[in-house]
Symmetry: C2
């Protein structure tokens, strides 16, 4: 326990009572975190004395460092190593000390360029954004598939296959194509299917898909005598389309650059990497995490254990929601080691979210 010039001093000066850190301590913490992010090695009092610009001897620095440690902002991995930021340290750094660097013109242009695909499908835009995020940050990029509140029925088309099976192609919103195969209890020829499709398109085009589903269900419970064969078939088939929907398009994400994480020394343990990659494949946990970010205003950051998922204990996740029109439809972000260059990653994620939204919107 250090009492000599411990809590007391730190709490008083600098007018930063809430944080428990006076100006000097904050500055030193900032330099320490920056330094650790740069080199990945514990930072000692000598280094800090040299590079802080404060003209203090290592001994004085050590006093401050002891305080910072006691308050939980930094730890020493072992007795005679320098100090390393804790999650709390990173958190304070990110929340209060971080000077977010404005992006260089060059980088802005690079990002724009990557998203300026010729005639993109919505999906190819997402894939591109994800790839770009991973390439530019040398970490893992992730973009959730957009999930609109309102999904507009655009067009449906049925084609006959063999064995009483029918290929159903449903187009929603602006060019999102979904297709599935239906097994029916009798066969229909092209013309009949054409009619069925027409019937449905006339009734439902432009309507919200949830409304369509509700109407379908209520139609199905109506007395069947009051419908003609065509109507009945149409409604049954449309309902079958919706039955099998959901799980695949249901919700997931596009990821890129997983292998980038293997280049970071702090993640070089094969077993940890395996678990991480497995979580990436599983999608479940990552998706839950990203889902939380959809309600946030802008960039959101989870540092280490903050995410609440053990596999991400040594990772940080920087996310931002993206919107089409004025509706937030998805989240994108970057996954990397806690020791990442936040001041660079944050504006990159921020900008990408905005540009992706714009790109999706302009093509709407």
């Amino acid at each position: 326990m250090r009492m000599q010039n411990g809590d007391g001093k730190l709490n008083m000066a600098g007018g930063m009572a809430e944080t428990g850190l006076n100006e000097r301590a904050q500055h030193l913490l900032k330099v320490l975190v920056e330094r650790y992010i740069r080199d990945g090695e514990p930072v000692g009092s000598r280094t800090l004395s040299r590079d802080s610009g404060l003209d203090l001897s290592p001994a004085s620095i050590r006093n401050v460092m002891a305080d910072l440690e006691e308050l939980g902002f930094i730890v020493a991995p072992h007795t005679s190593a320098g100090r390393v930021p804790t999650v709390k340290g990173y958190r304070f750094f990110v929340d209060t000390l971080l000077a977010v660097k404005a992006l260089e013109q060059q980088e802005v242009r690079l990002i724009q360029q990557q998203l300026a695909i010729h005639d993109p499908t919505p999906h190819s835009l997402l894939a591109s954004a994800s790839r770009m995020l991973s390439a530019i940050t040398r970490m893992t990029g992730v973009v959730t598939l957009p999930r609109r509140e309102h999904i507009a029925w655009r067009h449906i088309e049925f084609l006959p296959l063999s064995d009483n099976r029918v290929l159903a192609i449903l187009v929603v919103n602006e060019g999102e194509v979904q297709n599935r195969i239906l097994s029916l209890d009798r066969s229909y020829d092209s013309a009949a299917l054409q009619q069925i499709g027409n019937y449905l398109n006339i009734h439902f085009a432009g309507k919200d898909i949830h409304v369509v589903r509700a109407e379908l269900l209520s139609e199905l419970t109506r007395t069947r005598e009051s419908m003609n064969n065509l109507m009945l078939a149409a409604i049954t088939m449309a309902e079958k389309v919706f039955e099998t929907r959901g799980q695949e398009s249901g919700h997931s994400y596009v990821m890129a650059g997983e292998t980038n994480l293997m280049e970071w020394a702090e993640l070089s343990d094969v077993e940890k990497l395996r678990r991480l990659f497995e979580a990436f494949n599983q999608q479940r946990d990552i998706l839950h995490l990203l889902d939380k970010c959809i309600v946030a205003e802008g960039v959101q950051i989870f540092i280490g254990e903050e995410s609440g998922y053990r596999v991400l204990d040594e990772c940080s996740v920087v996310t931002a929601p993206y919107s089409v029109g004025d509706e937030v439809v998805g989240v994108l972000g970057v996954i990397g080691p806690t020791r990442m260059a936040y001041e660079r990653v944050i504006p990159i994620v921020d900008l990408t979210a905005k540009l992706l939204g714009a790109a999706l919107n302009s093509r709407k």
Copy 2:
């Protein structure tokens, strides 16, 4: 140099002059490889003497082992370790010594079951096969997308989007849906696009897609005066669809279980794994390799460097082509460490190829 009972002896006895190995040497090699595959540790003369069933002393075994080493079938990783199979050793083992185990009923049923999906799209079958291969072998499964010689035009549909753009949906073969977005120099309304689609479908339905393309190109060079507006628009748009085809659906594969490879000790070097995974993502090299296997009759095996790709130096690849009807359309297989249980993997890959072919075919 061992001359005492070196080449001479081995070449004579056993009537296996071509191979350079007499019966006893072959048997010992077999036991050694099996043992090494099981335990992953260099096999010494003592172990072999105990487990070969030959009632020979370690000393005698050592003589044989010295010969096997001189002929290049095995090596000692260092002076006082046991021996390990070389690529040549594995190759001889696989070609001549291997007793392919018939699959257990249980396993056969497991495989069948995994491929018995309710109303699968072609793609979901491939994905399922790949996942199943990886799960059952605890290695990485891969299935190339089927590439038919003959691709039949089934149906095309155009839907108007904003800004002179059109969504084109092309269905080929039995339920394979491709869609892309075309930017045009003027706008068309639904009705016009409907007409254009009809025109094309009437002309091309059932035709091979290569033929269609050829006809389109020759039509385009015809004097344009002799066509009406509808025809011109139809042909231009169809040609645009083909222009942008190819790279995406062009050729690639579905992979599963990459992370399984991280559990094999011999691949636990992060840098090697990174390169391997990067090659998986790149697809290029792997695809070249798989393409070679499409001409093979049945199961094909590449052991270590045999593949010709450096990233696969420590891996073996077991593949088999799969067919729809009597046309070979793709390749599937398993990628794992050289030290894999070939006698199990080979029949699994073989059976999976047959069942996948059957599944694709039955739904045709």
